[in-house]
Subunit: 150 residues, 2 copies
DNA sequence: TTACCTGCAAACAGTTTGCAGGCCG
DNA sequence: CGGCCTGCAAACTGTTTGCAGGTAA
């Protein structure tokens, strides 16, 4: 799942940074590594900051915010808005895509993908004269476990 | 487009309020009326507040925020998050549904609906054991006019 | 009359920014 | 060594809340 044929996340970030005349600092390395540890998670800047201060107590909150945006711009993170007012990010190597199914009861999220829907979205945009560049689809519902608890 | 067979927006609000033991005040009437003037718009609380203070300079910002949430809970408004950090609302009598196509260049939005996609969304949720209750789909792209300007 | 509601201002949460010193290239 | 980057704290933005007076039912 590390998508090695395009290089590791760090290589990708390094490439982006050097192209932009920016620097690969120890903080950026640490933040990226922690952000990419595991997969399938959706972290707010605050979540990530809390995890990072355990590893490096001197890390600044602002740096976490700045680095998340940086990773987003570098194509390494995707910004999500589930509807509460917190901005979340998920690891995202730009070849993979999925949307989200969210349980309104317990908050659980499940990544989903439907090729057919994806195709129809493009067509729908075209019908309105738009060239589709991206989309966000959030499906809200009640999961099986929560349904049974009722 | 006023969906009269379910009653006017104000009747609907009045019903909701009395059911909840709440009151139909002059401010709520004014805010609802202004919110429903025209259709196809997406207003932030601030947008609406600016329009309202022309009509009633004594109106308070907090009241606008409170009333938008109220209308949302009453099924008269739908909350939208286009991805910038502003919460927008659109008039929404609960029998009508559509999603949004957004031009990343000029910000124009177009309401869209595809029955086929809607059906597939339900099925997709079911396949994962979810009972779908609602969804948000935002399609981002470049509109024809903006494409030609390039 | 009695909740409920309002406007105001202060409080809040999440995020951004200015600055002085630190570090990558 | 120079410019980019960092941590800190203050500033900001959008939104919520406490309160004292006002008003619908």
């Amino acid at each position: 799942m590390q998508n090695n044929y395009l290089g590791s996340p760090e290589e990708k970030l390094a490439g982006y940074l050097s192209r932009k005349g920016m620097k690969l600092t120890s903080q950026r390395r640490l933040i990226l590594a922690e952000f990419y540890r595991g997969t399938e998670h959706h972290l707010s800047a605050e979540d990530l900051y809390q995890k990072l201060r355990v590893l490096d107590s001197s890390i600044g909150q602002a740096t976490v915010y700045r680095t998340l945006k940086l990773m987003r711009d570098a194509g390494l993170a995707r910004e999500l808005h589930f509807g509460d007012d917190v901005t979340r990010f998920e690891p995202y190597l730009n070849t993979i895509h999925h949307d989200h199914l969210i349980c309104e009861e317990c908050g659980k999220t499940v990544p989903v993908l439907d090729e057919h829907i994806e195709r129809l979205q493009s067509e729908l945009a075209e019908q309105h004269g738009f060239k589709l560049t991206s989309h966000r689809m959030y499906l809200y519902g009640i999961c099986l476990e929560c349904m049974e608890k009722k």
